[in-house]
Symmetry: C2
Subunit: 335 residues, 2 copies
């Protein structure tokens, strides 16, 4: 058996215990705040509404290190709760919020540097500010990279307008973790509000991975290290259709100069799919070398048994180790 | 080996050789017309623009019966080219168009009744007209059912407003084949126009299957026979997340009273996924008993080797026969 104590969980989220008060000068914007209800519980309030009930696991280092041990996880990659990415804010307050969250994550990493790696956030609604904050995150805070969303106010991540950011990330050696946010297809849901993250998120992520491939992301930035959450969402099932279309449609082949199934294997994906058949499908689709443990800790939808799922695959020790931590170390730039 | 001569291809499309001229009384609407360029080729023109170049395989019975033999297909299920469903037309012209296409498909079935089964179309933008046309399709034309889209002008098929149609379909024993159309996520695509069907279609279909499950479609209409094209799109990868959420979120469990993985196995899916790993994933996700051969004949993206893919699975003769024709016969109501 492999060494579960060493598993790296690349998909865990942070909400700071406190956020700076909204500065009056910015007027009526969707600025988040934290309302503590007791010493262990709080609410994230946005525009006067409760966005989410959270626990101190979102910010508390001792609780996280205790709980990760109970999940057979050796270290967590910290990233902001995606709603905090706040691409809809004006650039200046977005930059202030990003800086506060980046400092919070850096502080958590400093408190237990053998248990945490950090991914910050950047105001991608303003390319200059975004690249400046990315440089601060990497050079001054020493974090591993940043989390970004699958789209920036509707612009998919494969769009040419985002290339300056990816060029900077590749140049700085920043790892990029992509998480769904404000997904496409909200008008296609029938049922409770949770279906946004349950149903629309994997489709949104599939569209984002596809846009990365059809936009030639890895060809423009061959050294980029980019990972998609939730196993790339539903992209695994889009890939064979894209591959077939690449062989069938001259227009697709002309636009997409790298074979899709090869391009897909140059990016990373987490294992957060909750099911052995689905996990095996990821391995077959993207290659074992591109997959890393992810759990969504500490939110309700989290996978509490990530290493049990890996063990159930019946892999060799060497392959299990790659899934548990080896691939994550490559993604994070540690090897 | 199984009997490939008996394979039923449930996913093939028809465009009539001629469409009635737009009646002047309807004004400026997106009424399609067929412009023949030679005896074998034509263009579908909508609002003065070329929607698609087509060949006489879209309507020519002898060509279809010859070509299906070359694909090891014994019979085809005929359904309209999805763009013809025309939910965006005013109800009256939509009904006229539907009637013409339904008569065309019925005529093709009558020309070779041992080689064709027919699915008609209905103007779902008007529930009364839709149910009346459905009754005509089943009772007067003797077709097997109808093709519908994944959404009706943005309303997902699991929405309560569509229940009268599904109730009528269940009552009439009409088979329902669901095809993506006007998909969600168009603003997330980067690349040529074909990506609408290549990338957005499978995500749109995933959203539609999810809406059927979260909307309780099979619980409201337990006798309904419904099939989703393209293997249910990317829904196979959404299902384990929906299943996990059903166990984790009280709101999801309260709204979705049947376990998603069981609900998914009460519906049918075609095998049009172009890849052995993806096909095996469908079998594992939905059950072999729910899958049927589909090819998208006669369009460019079609799968030319449907039975070769089934043979490559190494199934028992009995299971291969179920995939090749047995399940389709159940879906069509022939057994």
């Amino acid at each position: 058996m492999s060494k579960p104590c060493c598993a790296i969980d690349v998909h865990t989220h942070v909400v700071p215990a406190h956020l700076p008060d909204q500065l009056a000068e910015f007027g009526d914007i969707a600025w988040p705040s934290i309302r503590h209800t007791d010493s262990c519980h709080a609410k994230v309030i946005i525009r006067g509404k409760n966005y989410r009930d959270i626990e101190n696991a979102c910010w508390d280092v001792p609780r996280r290190t205790t709980e990760m041990a109970g999940m057979d996880v050796g270290s967590q990659v910290l990233s902001p709760m995606p709603e905090l990415l706040s691409y809809w804010l004006p650039p200046k307050p977005a930059q202030i919020l990003a800086r506060h969250i980046n400092e919070t994550i850096a502080e958590m990493v400093r408190a237990a540097p053998d248990r945490f790696h950090g991914l910050g956030m950047i105001p991608l609604q303003d390319m200059d500010l975004a690249i400046r904050e990315l440089e601060y995150v990497i050079k001054s805070l020493g974090l591993s990279g940043v989390e970004i969303a699958t789209n920036v106010n509707g612009v998919p991540l494969g769009h040419a307008s985002l290339r300056p950011f990816f060029a900077a990330a590749a140049s700085l050696g920043a790892a990029i973790f992509v998480h769904p946010l404000r997904p496409a297809g909200m008008d296609r849901l029938v049922g409770p509000a949770n279906l946004e993250q349950v149903v629309a998120f994997p489709c949104e992520t599939a569209l984002a991975v596809a846009s990365a491939i059809t936009g030639g992301l890895m060809q423009h930035h061959p050294r980029l290290r980019i990972a998609f959450s939730h196993g790339g969402g539903a992209f695994g099932q889009v890939l064979p259709r894209l591959q077939h279309a690449w062989s069938s449609f001259a227009a697709v082949k002309a636009a997409v100069t790298e074979e899709p199934r090869l391009a897909a294997r140059r990016m990373f994906y987490d294992t957060l799919v909750y099911d052995p058949t689905a996990l095996r499908f990821l391995i077959d689709s993207f290659g074992l070398s591109q997959l890393m443990v992810g759990t969504d800790y500490p939110f309700t939808i989290m996978d509490r048994q990530p290493t049990v799922r890996v063990a159930a695959l019946g892999l060799s020790d060497a392959d299990a180790d790659r899934l548990l931590f080896g691939n994550a170390r490559r993604f994070l730039g540690l090897v």
